[in-house]
Structures are given as structure tokens and as C-alpha cells.
Symmetry: C2
Subunit: 583 residues, 2 copies
């Protein structure tokens, strides 16, 4: 029997000897590896935080003492100690337990958290509520693994320092973000590490925290010592612990970036096979490298997720000073891009759909209001079976209602490259491009469209009665719907690729009124505030009926894609059925 | 002839003696006072930065050297020195010059900036573009007056420190934000002031900047000395200057908060008259104080703009520890509210519409995903003649498309108080309320609606043929439209107060299909992604025609409200004209 098998709640942790706790750390690592190898997930950050989590549960009394996990992808060890080890040890039950903090799973989780840099602010609220109610317990935020660079974290530190009561912030310093840490703060962390926490210059003390340093952040005894010291403190306190990301699994230590998150099946596999196929990632990288090689002032930018775009170390080396990783700092990334563009450089910023929502005011004020000619690439936009914290269905409502922004949605390799080249070359508009989140499709002929003619849709197939306006990822579905209409109803519908998500082609839509009674829109994202509603509003004054297809306004949590497509009527059969009802 | 009258460009500043520059500072102050007393505007921050601006133009060579003004409400002195003094001295020309940085006005302005905390990020981009292009000049960001607390500023500092080349950040430390400065960082600024910049603990050095301190930040000679020292540096450099907000106008020094921004006509007026009328501000404060006096864990929260809600010093004193000003830190404010709500306190966060857009991910992830029962009050939402940087027309598209959030839009005092009480008392939903941005309207009877029945619209007047769905500020316009329809067309239209901006009342709308052929929606904000489009989408499958009235997707800049109402057809006559075309 392993030690982990004896642990059913944090109470059981408190009974262990240090030796047993060290064995428990190994059991936890085995569980992490088993889960990630089976269903994929976060590997490195969880491996590194095993000892600290054990020590936290040994010293503090959860759930009375309240833990708030930042970058809750560090929460696997905590889950294993709080009644959820079956989600790691039993393959058939792994999907029952999410990869993030979730109060519905356990009283030891207090928030649903998936994005980063939030824990200090949340914990400050928790602590303030405690004080107002005259209660007495510890509030502990665990932050780190790169999330310190986000502005929300800093705003939180600033205000936590004002609390004048118990709040303990454990800074998990593993020298890494997802990619290596960027930015000035990390220099100070390094200095603190190099001086065993003794450096005079100390950013945490500077803003008013008591400060403790644990060099051996994977040493349970030393962690317990310090946690005991700070327990029940009446002061805002930082415990800076130096941990090893990936500890216990050599490949994850050697290549921290690759093993931050991983697909299943990596154990005992040979990873050296390189994908030679052309993808939207590969053609984007080729585009950027070509500009760099021509000596142009291109700047490829990521906010700590280069892996999403395959901005791998080889690519970064080739780009050199024409590449910037700003760290987890999307607000800065947008404003930085605006500064670059306004001073004649050519920024191309890549962001995941789920993370572009970490910036809005900057898109509106720093970019759009200034018409800064930056290019922003949005990846992974679309409906998926993702965790509720990482949905990518909201970027169209978020971005497309900001004045001045041109949001393009290509449907093929050629269209994407033409849009990218146009965006890069022009100096009038802020341009976002929703990079297709499907396999690369080539339509064989180059695209010579002049995209400076805004909101010009492409009439792909002229038909009658029903017009299908199918955007981006769903253009293929639009074609299928057209074929299904032919099959079931016997006529040729019109098929339109709108290309622009930010406006309507009034001329083309006006023409449709002549010989169409139904228009349908297809978009791979939320309907509320999205693309289709703009089309519907256009037709509001006419007798043309309009049906919008896309996702409902809801947070879905790991719901299989097929189920979502059925729920939202996103199959050709269901769509044609709906069309028949109004035809 | 004043010295200012001799200044037509920064070149003229360079010819002045120190004595003349001091006279120039006085002339600038006269100009600031004249402008603000005539058309209103930012007073205290501009008065405090006169000397620094003169010294900047004396030492640096704008526009070759590039100034980026954060909280560009500190830009008045700069405008006077760069060919725009007529906007301060000549009443008939004051409206030609905006109160914010604007490249269309001058080559000495590089960005349109109105919101805060952006300058360091923008300047980092400008400097990086310079380096990539092999150019050589100084890039100077002026930040301060409270804007250091915003997360974007910190993200910017973090990345500017990585530049390894010339960027000079002037930190204007006037010991104030709009309200007194909050947060840990400001403790360090105080320590630096108290030690003449010598304190060991120095947050700027901690993150990698060279650091200079100027205690007499209103002393032109001392400023010139330091600016000369840092000019052409090849290092990221902070110049921390200690200035006096409001300098030169005693009332603005004595009451920095009141005179941060002021309406015209304050010179020689008696300010002691207190408005005794009931307003949405006064009833909100009464509500909060009542909860506090009952010993409930209410927490009133502002992000550095207490004046907007009349959270004056007297109110703050009464609220005591049940009041939090987080500083300019809207992201933190939202997450903090979530933490409070989840731990049993009752947060009521007040934000201006224009500033709520400084947070989105937190609304979505920290609040909505967690269904945290916080109350967020949105003020000033609506179409206005404001500067393009401070429009309040985007909050409905921004907020109402986030799942789980309930966004309410009351039309009267009684409805507002009922919504506020419901929101405060319940524990199921994250609730936003769009506080009416019009004079308080009482409808004389108390509102006993159960708002936990989501998306139930109120049928105010049952009629036929045309249904008018009029939200919030525009409910009165809706009533006028109904009267105009009666007058011109002779029948009684239906009038509906939707109350919920986040969904449609399917039952009521379905019923309308029976005896209505036209539905119109009225909302005081942007149509794209807004409330009306949801209604239009609902009717897409029917023969009911729907017209949406609201503002276009555009940034408008100080366009008179009447002109906007005409442009958007927001008068009863224009609306009825449009209705007649489709009836």
C-alpha cells in the first residue's frame, strides 16, 4: 500500500512522519505522471509543487484555513490530498476530476480558477471578509510559475499589503513561466535566490510585506518550519520558495517548456519525430522568418505561450531581437504592439482566444482608438470540449464590437496568407485575424483580394431562396449545408464567405433580399454579441428571415464537442431541419 | 507680453533663462485656470506638472525625442508649449483643443491616450521600434498621479526593464491619485521621499532600473540638472520627481480630490452650497450606510474615482472599514469583490462605464464563472458628448455577453432600489446594475418584483401593431415614441421596460408575434453586440420586423449630444419616421 492510498483528507497528512511525507511526494508524482500520460494535462508545475502542497496541508487546517491556488494548474497535488486521488490513479475516473480548482469538487477549493495572476486579489477579498465578520483563520494564496508578471497579481499585492492582517502569499519560484520568465521582476527573484533571500533590494518588502525565503522549496521539513513560523501571523506575508519545475521526471526538468503541459502517451514514447506537414503554425512562422530575413522591422510577440503557436526555441533563435516574449502580460503585449506599430515597426502578436480576454481596454484604447497598424493573431477560436476556464468561444463578441478594429476570418491557407500580408503591409487599421482552428485547407489558387475594401464578403456560390453565410472554421459546414439543401430540397442555395467579422456587406446583403427568403449565419463561437447578430440586425427591417447558428451564452465544462454540436444545431442535418421550418 | 505668448514651439523654450521659465510656469498656470474655469477639465494634476514639462522641453528635443504622457490629463502644459496655447487662453478656441494627448493636434503627441497606466508599455514599444530601426533618440514616459497602481503599468515596467537601451520613465509622485493613493507601492514611494531617494528598499531598482530622485519636483533648475544627466542614457531609467498637485492655486492644494477635475465657474464662486436633492448617488450612499449601520458585512468599493459616485470623505468616514478604495486597479477590484462575496461579505463595487472596460477577464473568470454574488454598479453608461477616450457606450456589449452575469437596467428610483436590494440579498448570481445616468425619476410606488425570475420584462402598456422595448435611460424616450405613434398613426403601441439587458423574455416576445408587426428596441449605448440585437435574433425566424436604436460602432470625440441623437435617430420624430417605413 502506498502512502497516498492512506490519505483520504488533509487530516491524514497531519499524522505522517517526514519520511512518510517524502514517500507521499513520490506517490503524488506517480499519480501526476499517470494522469497526464493517460489524458494529458499540466505536468511540470504540478511535479514541482508536491512537497509544498504536503507541507501546506500539514501545517494549515484546510478548509478552515483557506487556500487559493493561482495558475490552478498547480493544483493536482492538492486534489490528491483532498479526496480526489481517484482522478489520478484510476484511468476510468480521471475525467471526473478537472485539472483546475473547483469548489463543486471539494470544500477545499474556494474558486473556479484557470487563468493566472488572480489568487492574491481573490485571497485579499477572502481575508477582508474574514476580518469584517470577526473570524479567525489563515488565508493562503499560492502564486508563481510565471503568473507574477500579470498586472492583476501586482494590483493584488499592492492592496493585500494594505490589509494589515493575516494573508500569506506563497510565491512558487521555479525560475520559469510556461516559457522562461521574462521581465524586471524576475531579476529581483534571481537576486533573492542568489543571496538566500538576504538581498537588500526586495520587491516584496518594498511594497510592505513581511518576507521569508526557502531555498530548498522541495524540502518538506524546511517548508514546514517556515509555514509554522508564519501561521497565524497578523501581517501580510510573502513566503518565497525556490522549487524545481518538473522535479522527479528527468525529461520535464531538462525541457521545462515542452513538459509544462503535455498530451497523453509521452511515457516510453520516442518524441523525436517531427511533424513535416504544413500547418497554420508553420506557414505563420515562415511568413515571420521571411520578413526578418529581408531585414524588415517585424516583431513576433507572445505572452508566455510560445508553444501554442509553435514558436519553438529554433524559431526564437532565428528571429533574435525580432522576437519578444512579454511573459504573462497580455495588457502590456497589446500596448507594446501599439507602440511598435506607431513608431514604424511591424508587430505580429499571437494570442490564444481564451487569453485575449485578459486585455480589452488596451485593444480599445491603445490600439483601436489610435488605429495602430498592428496585427493580432487569435488562435484556437472556436467551440470545443475544453475546461470551462479555457473556452475559446468569446473572442468574436469581445473583439468585433470595438470600433476601428478589422477582425478577419480566413477559410483557407491562401486567404490567411493574403490577409496576413495585407495586414502586415498596411498602415491604416488595427487588424485581428482569427487563425483557423482546423486542419490547413488549401484551395489551390492564390488570393488577390484587396482587403483594404472593408467588409466585402465573398460570394462563393450564387443560388436562390436560402443564403448560407459561413465564417471561418465553419465555412466547410456551410458548404455541407448547401449540399444538404440541394439533396433534401432540390435547389441551389447561395454560399457566402464573409471574411470580415466586424461588419456587414450592405450591398451584397441588400441584393440577397431580391431572391432569398432565408439567410443563415454560421460562426464558431458565441452567438450573443457575435457576427451573426449583425447580419440579423441588417435584415430586421425586411421580410427576410434570419437564423443564427453558433454557441449559446454559457460556460461549458469538458462537454464533448459532438454533444455541443447537437445542442447548438451545428450539423448539416439539424441546420437544414431548422431552415425547412421557416422556408 | 507674457512669456507664454512668446512660445510657439519647444524651440522657444530652449532660449529662456531660468527666471523666464519660472515666469512661464506661472503663465501656464494662469492658462490652466482660465481654461478649466471656462470649459471645465483637469486642474490639480496639470498645475503640479508645469515645471517638469518646461524642463522636459528644455532638455529633450521633441518631437525627435518622444514623450508619452500617461494619464494624459497631465498634458495641458505640454499642449501650451507645443503650439496649442490658444486652447487655454482664448475662450472661443478652447474647444478646438482636447484635454488629452492627440496626434491629430500636434506632432509632439504620439498617441491618443485617456485612460491610465499605459505610457510605459507604449513607450517600450516605441523604444523597441527605434532600436530595431537603428535610430537614436530618447523615449520618455511621464507616469504618475496615481496611475502607477494599474496592472498595465507594472507589466510595462517589467518589460521596459528588459529593453537594455534608452527609456526614461518620469514618475510624477504628487502623493495622490484622484483620491489619496492606496496600496503597498505607495508606501515605498513615501519611504523614498522621506530618504531623499536613498532608501535601500527601492521598488524601481528592484526590478532593474537606474534611479534618480528629485525632491523639489517643482524646481525647474533641479529638474533640468537631472534630465540632463539621464538624457541619452543607454539604460532603462526612472526619474522619481516629487511634485505638489494643485500648485499655485490654494484651494486645489488644500483639497486635491475636489480639484482633480472641475466643472467651470469655480473661480470667485462660493462652493459651500450643498445639493440637497435626492439623486441616484445619494440613494446609493443611503443604502450602503444603512447596511453598515445594521452591522452587515457590506463593502463599498471604488477604484480611485470616489467622486463619480459622491463617495465623499464624510461618507468614507462613516463607512470606515466597510469602504475600500483599491486605487486605479479595476482588475483587482473585481477579483477582490469576488473573494469578498465568496466568503460571505457583501461587496458593492461602483465603476464608471468607461473604466469597467479596464477589466474583462476578471468579470468573466473571477466573478461570472464562480457565480460570485457581488453587486457591480455601472455609472454614466450612455451616449454623450464626451472625449473619445471616455465614452460610456460600450458597457452593454462588454458585460452582457458574458455568461452567468445578470445585467439590470432600472428606469426609476423604486426599481433601482428594488434591484439593488435583491442583488445585495441573494447568493446565486453576479449582478451588474446600470445606474440611470439621467435625473432621478420616481414612479411613486414601490417595486416588489422578484428579480430572481431572470429575464422577465415588464409590460408597461399593452397596445398593438408596434411594440417599443425601451431600456434604462431611454425608457422615457420609449414613452414619447408611444405618444408620437398615437399622435401620428392613431393607435396605441405596446411599451415594455425590459429591465434585464442580458437576455430575452421569450414568453413575452412570443406573445408579441400575435398582434404586432414591428418591434423596436431603444438602448443608450452601442448597437453592435448590445441588447437590441438579442431581441432581433429572437424574431429572426418570424415575420415581425425589428428596428434597433442606439449608437453606431464608432469612437466619437466631443460631438454634441443633440448631433449624435440626430445621427442615430434617437428622437421620437425620427424613430416614428423609421417605423412608418416598415409598418
Amino acid at each position: 500500500m502506498t502512502v497516498l492510498e492512506t490519505i483520504n483528507s488533509p487530516q491524514d497528512v497531519k499524522k505522517l512522519s517526514v519520511e512518510e511525507m517524502n514517500m507521499l511526494a513520490q506517490d503524488i508524482r506517480d499519480g501526476i505522471l499517470k494522469r497526464v500520460n493517460t489524458i494529458g494535462g499540466h505536468l511540470g508545475p504540478d511535479l514541482g509543487i508536491a512537497e509544498a502542497t504536503i507541507a501546506m496541508h500539514y501545517v494549515f487546517d484546510s478548509p478552515k484555513d483557506k487556500f487559493v491556488f493561482d495558475v490552478s494548474h498547480q493544483v493536482y497535488p492538492h486534489k490528491m490530498l483532498t479526496g480526489r486521488k481517484h482522478g489520478f490513479l484510476e484511468p476510468s475516473k480521471m475525467h471526473e476530476i478537472s485539472g483546475y480548482s473547483n469548489p463543486k469538487e471539494s470544500e477545499h477549493d474556494h474558486f473556479v480558477i484557470g487563468h493566472t495572476s488572480t489568487s492574491v486579489s481573490l485571497a485579499t477579498g477572502v481575508a477582508k471578509a474574514r476580518d469584517l465578520k470577526g473570524e479567525n483563520y489563515n488565508v493562503i494564496a499560492l502564486i508563481g510559475d510565471g503568473s507574477l508578471s500579470g498586472g492583476e497579481a501586482y494590483e493584488g499585492f499592492n492592496n493585500a499589503a494594505e490589509l494589515n492582517s493575516n494573508i500569506i502569499i506563497i510565491v512558487n519560484d521555479n525560475e520559469m513561466s510556461i516559457a522562461p520568465n521574462q521581465g524586471g521582476l524576475y531579476k529581483n527573484l534571481a537576486e533573492l535566490r542568489n543571496t538566500n533571500g538576504q538581498a537588500q533590494v526586495n520587491v516584496f518588502k518594498a511594497i510592505g510585506f513581511d518576507y521569508y525565503y526557502v531555498e530548498e522549496g522541495n524540502n518538506i521539513e524546511k517548508l514546514i518550519d517556515v509555514f509554522k513560523k508564519v501561521k497565524d501571523t497578523d501581517r501580510p506575508t510573502v513566503v518565497h520558495i525556490h522549487t524545481l519545475k518538473g522535479k522527479g521526471y528527468e525529461p520535464a526538468v531538462a525541457d521545462k517548456e515542452t513538459y509544462h503541459w503535455h498530451l497523453p502517451g509521452f511515457l516510453n514514447s520516442n518524441e523525436s519525430s517531427v511533424n513535416q506537414e504544413e500547418t497554420y503554425n508553420s506557414i505563420t512562422k515562415d511568413f515571420l522568418l521571411d520578413k526578418k530575413q529581408k531585414g524588415e522591422p517585424v516583431v513576433a510577440i507572445t505572452a508566455a505561450t510560445p508553444g501554442v503557436f509553435d514558436f519553438n526555441p529554433e524559431f526564437r533563435l532565428k528571429m533574435g531581437k525580432n522576437f519578444t516574449d512579454v511573459g504573462i502580460a497580455e495588457e502590456h503585449a497589446i500596448a507594446y504592439a501599439s507602440g511598435l506599430a506607431k513608431n514604424g515597426a511591424k508587430p505580429v502578436l499571437a494570442l490564444m482566444s481564451s487569453f485575449v480576454q485578459r486585455t480589452y481596454d488596451q485593444m480599445s484604447q491603445d490600439l483601436a482608438l489610435n488605429n495602430s497598424p498592428a496585427t493580432v493573431l487569435i488562435y484556437w477560436g472556436g467551440i470545443s470540449g475544453a475546461d470551462m476556464t479555457h473556452l475559446c468561444t468569446f473572442d468574436i463578441p469581445l473583439i468585433s464590437n470595438i470600433p476601428n478594429i478589422v477582425y478577419l476570418s480566413p477559410v483557407s491557407k491562401e486567404e490567411y496568407l493574403a490577409m496576413l500580408e495585407w495586414s502586415y503591409s498596411q498602415n491604416e487599421h488595427t487588424v485581428f485575424i482569427r487563425v483557423p482552428a482546423i486542419d490547413l485547407v488549401s484551395d489551390g489558387t492564390s488570393d488577390n483580394t484587396d482587403y483594404s475594401q472593408l467588409n466585402k464578403y465573398k460570394l462563393v456560390e450564387k443560388g436562390e431562396k436560402v443564403a448560407v453565410i459561413a465564417a471561418g472554421n465553419f465555412f466547410g459546414l456551410g458548404r455541407q449545408v448547401r449540399e444538404e439543401i440541394k439533396k433534401q430540397l432540390g435547389f441551389d442555395a447561395t454560399l457566402i464567405n464573409p471574411r470580415f467579422l466586424t461588419g456587414v456587406d450592405s450591398e451584397m446583403l441588400e441584393n440577397l433580399k431580391k431572391d432569398h427568403s432565408v439567410v443563415i449565419t454560421l460562426e464558431d463561437g458565441e452567438l450573443d454579441g457575435g457576427f451573426g447578430e449583425k447580419v440579423t440586425r441588417f435584415f430586421g427591417n425586411s421580410s427576410v428571415k434570419v437564423l443564427n447558428f453558433g454557441s449559446k451564452k454559457e460556460f461549458t465544462d469538458r462537454v464533448p464537442l459532438e454533444e455541443l454540436y447537437n445542442r447548438y444545431h451545428l450539423t448539416k442535418e439539424l441546420i437544414v431541419q431548422d431552415v425547412k421550418e421557416v422556408l
